[in-house]
């Protein structure tokens, strides 16, 4: 007999309010609601609930709420109830624990312990409603030398660049890990916002080639959907070396999700697993990476900036320095809180380092070595608000990547069940009836609203600092102060403690 694992959540239904309309039953793909014909009452199956709030949001009489179970083990500060239950599950199945979305553990957030500056009296603040504020950003290698033609005119020696109306992009999420409608929402929003979305490693659906000018296409070790027209379709090509949620671990789309359009887009046999291991089996050195970077440049006739995405791990500064020398135009760094459609839980929760520290040390290292202008830095791995965004730029980022935040704008409730293919919000699922729940037009509208709101906040914060362009905010660590940090933490971040 299996070890008993108690349901994590309780479905609480107000008998008084419930009108037995059975909406919740139809809405819950996990099957946590049922109807007892003979008694004429609704039933709940707590063990199936993942706390996604779909039923709660759609119940017409607001009769539902979901609670974390109060059932508990004997108090033990070392063995939490959750840890015990996970152990039971492994004893029952012999399986590697699998979950999704970003690291939920209560590890310290550096963003939350950084405070921003504002001008007072001298160096007056700027009113962003009245004064122009430049948020346009160009990503790519910036040449440090000026060349002139025979008549002394400046020659354009700038390589391929990405032009963003504001320094933010939607980071890689593959078609397969998220739905067609989620991709359509991201693509539409990116176009309207003058920014970029990233199609991830699962290829680019034929319907989305038209969004190419606002698309970053990804090349991972499995090379799904990669052919020359794909490389040409995007505005930039990203080589995925690592992902913050699972550094050292590859991607693996289970065969049951690799069907129909997903398989066609990935160009792999339907129903077979789509495996993209962590190592590219042709890359064992920076020189090997350089070869892939240049083969992509050649295949695209040097028209696309090449991004290399790495996970924030120990020694990330030295790694980034190597990557900068590989010929990459942009380095994307993904922090340990970055999301995922599926990852071994233990890896997600224990491997990698915070993006704030990784970013600060990479920026510093590249400056020290005099190669900072050779690459742009894009960071992700939990940018949750406009202030995380501002702080990241002030720590040295040229732009930020958001993914979890973007999915939240599409209706995600962070139930961390993306790996089950049963996303009740139509985001992380390939089941047609569920995908239909996400309207791409409304999705895009929410994304546009979110980014516009953040842009307003960005301008307001910059105005408060007396800064009128993102350029002047970038790497401007004087605008940051730490609270409750050790000397070492402050040193790594390159900021002073508040009060100084």
């Amino acid at each position: 007999m299996d070890l008993y694992v108690h349901p994590r959540f309780e479905v609480l239904r107000s008998e008084k309010k419930c009108i037995c309309c059975r909406v919740c039953e139809r809405q819950c793909a996990n099957g946590a609601h049922g109807y007892d014909e003979s008694a004429g009452t609704m039933e709940s199956y707590d063990e199936k609930c993942v706390n996604c709030h779909r039923c709660v949001a759609l119940c017409p009489t607001k009769a539902l709420k979901i609670a974390e179970t109060s059932h508990s083990f004997r108090q033990n500060a070392n063995w939490s109830g959750h840890t015990i239950q996970e152990l039971y599950l492994q004893a029952n199945t012999g399986g590697v624990l699998l979950s999704s979305m970003g690291n939920p553990r209560p590890l310290p957030s550096y963003f939350d312990r950084i405070l921003l500056n504002a001008s007072q009296v001298t160096n007056p603040s700027i009113d962003p409603l009245r004064e122009p504020m430049e948020t346009r950003t160009f990503l790519g290698k910036k040449n440090q030398t000026v060349t002139r033609d025979t008549r002394g005119r400046l020659k354009d020696n700038m390589g391929a660049q990405l032009e963003l109306r504001a320094p933010i992009m939607f980071s890689a999420m593959s078609l397969g890990s998220i739905s067609y409608n989620a991709h359509a929402s991201l693509a539409n929003a990116a176009r309207e916002l003058g920014i970029f979305y990233n199609c991830g490693e699962g290829g680019l659906h034929k319907d989305f080639y038209k969004y190419g000018p606002n698309t970053i296409v990804q090349v991972a070790s499995g090379r799904f959907g990669v052919h020359q027209p794909y490389l040409m379709a995007g505005a930039a090509v990203e080589i995925k070396m690592g992902q913050g949620a699972k550094p050292g671990i590859g991607g693996h789309l289970p065969g049951h999700k690799n069907m129909g359009q997903i398989a066609a887009t990935r160009m792999t046999p339907e129903g077979s697993d789509a495996i993209s291991p962590a190592p590219h089996h042709d890359i064992y050195s920076i020189e090997d990476l350089r070869q892939l970077v240049y083969s992509l440049k050649e295949a695209t006739g040097n028209t696309k900036p090449i991004i290399v995405k790495i996970a924030a791990v120990h020694n990330v500064a030295a790694i980034a320095s190597g990557v900068a020398r590989s010929g990459a135009d942009i380095i994307a760094i993904d922090g340990f809180r970055g999301g995922t459609g599926a990852a071994p839980t233990r890896i997600r929760d224990n491997v990698g380092i915070p993006i704030e520290l990784a970013l600060a040390s990479v920026d510093q290292k590249l400056r020290d070595e005099g190669i900072r202008s050779d690459v742009s830095l894009v960071v992700g791995g939990s940018i949750r608000s406009s202030t995380d965004w501002v702080k990241a730029i002030a720590l040295g980022a040229d732009a930020c990547y958001i993914a979890t935040g973007a999915l939240l704008a599409l209706g995600c409730h962070l139930c961390r069940s993306c790996h089950t293919n049963l996303c009740n919000w139509g985001i992380a699922t390939q089941r047609p009836d569920l995908v239909r729940r996400l309207n791409p037009e409304i999705g895009a509208e929410h994304l546009v609203n979110l980014i516009k709101a953040w842009q307003h906040e960005l301008r307001e914060i910059m105005g408060g600092m007396g800064i009128n362009s993102v350029e002047a905010l970038r790497g401007n660590r004087l605008m940051l102060r730490g609270v409750g940090m050790t000397r070492e933490e402050l040193d790594i971040l390159g900021i002073k403690h508040a009060g100084l």
């Binding site: 399986g95 090379r223 799904f224 160009m267 697993d273 495996i275 042709d282």
Partner: protein, 243 residues
């Protein structure tokens, strides 16, 4: 036929010249380690005199052909989606990495990790034929396509491929001439001696190999072959506990 003397050219200059000649027949003379020749070009025909560098024919497209008279290096045909590459010598590591269409014929040997991550979908079925021997990890993570290793230079009783052949294979077919089971085959690979009907998909490949490199077709066709296929399209399904 246009001739390019590559002697004084950097790979990026050679690449630029070749891209400008898409759709034409080109002879590259004095090739000396130039990388990325033919990368992502469609409808070109390149004949190489000399030694091409890494990533020959990467991302190659339909309608292109590359013939090289000497050896090729690493990552030949990386992620190619069509066309053909013919090597009148040997090639280095990771030949045909992630290829999803077209064909590669290697007269001699291939290094480690040949044909890894090969894919197929619908009409597109990539083919890699190696006349000599291949190193370790042949067909690792293969998801589709056909790999043939002829082992024409293998000694009596010696397997024509190295160790760990087909590790993580979850699709496609590997044919090994000579019928000798390679060392340290991973457990998820299913091995059988071929029946005549199993050889049907490779007969045209054998014909082409024999015609291109002047080898006796009858001998190739009458040899014993092993067929390696994965025993599951979902090798990692049972690895996880979802919650």
């Amino acid at each position: 036929m246009t001739t390019i003397d590559a002697k004084a050219l950097h790979f990026s200059q050679l690449g630029e010249s070749l891209r400008a000649l898409a759709g034409q027949e080109v002879q590259v003379k004095n090739c000396l380690g130039h990388r990325y020749i033919g990368a992502g070009i469609s409808g070109i025909s390149i004949d190489i005199d000399g030694i091409p560098g890494n990533a020959l024919g990467a991302y190659l497209l339909e309608g292109s052909t590359i013939v090289t008279r000497g050896n090729a290096q690493d990552a030949t045909g990386d992620t190619m989606s069509g066309g053909s590459i013919v090597i009148h010598g040997s090639t280095g590591d990771a030949v045909g990495y992630g290829m999803r269409g077209g064909s590669i014929f290697v007269k001699g040997n291939a290094g480690y990790r040949a044909g890894i991550h090969m894919k197929e979908f619908g009409e597109k079925c990539p083919k890699l034929v190696i006349g000599g021997k291949a190193g370790d990890f042949l067909g690792e993570y293969q998801a589709g396509g056909i790999i043939v290793v002829l082992g024409l230079n293998a000694k009596q009783g010696e397997p024509c491929v190295g160790r760990f052949c087909g590790t993580g294979q979850h699709g496609g077919k590997i044919f090994l001439r000579g019928g000798i089971v390679p060392n340290e085959l991973p457990p998820q690979v299913f091995v059988k001696q071929t029946e005549p009907e199993d050889l049907e998909p490779i007969v045209p490949l054998l014909e082409q190999y024999a015609a291109t490199f002047g080898v006796d077709l009858g001998m190739l066709k009458s040899s014993p072959y092993l067929l390696l296929t994965p025993n599951s399209a979902n090798p990692y399904q049972s690895l996880y506990a979802q919650y």
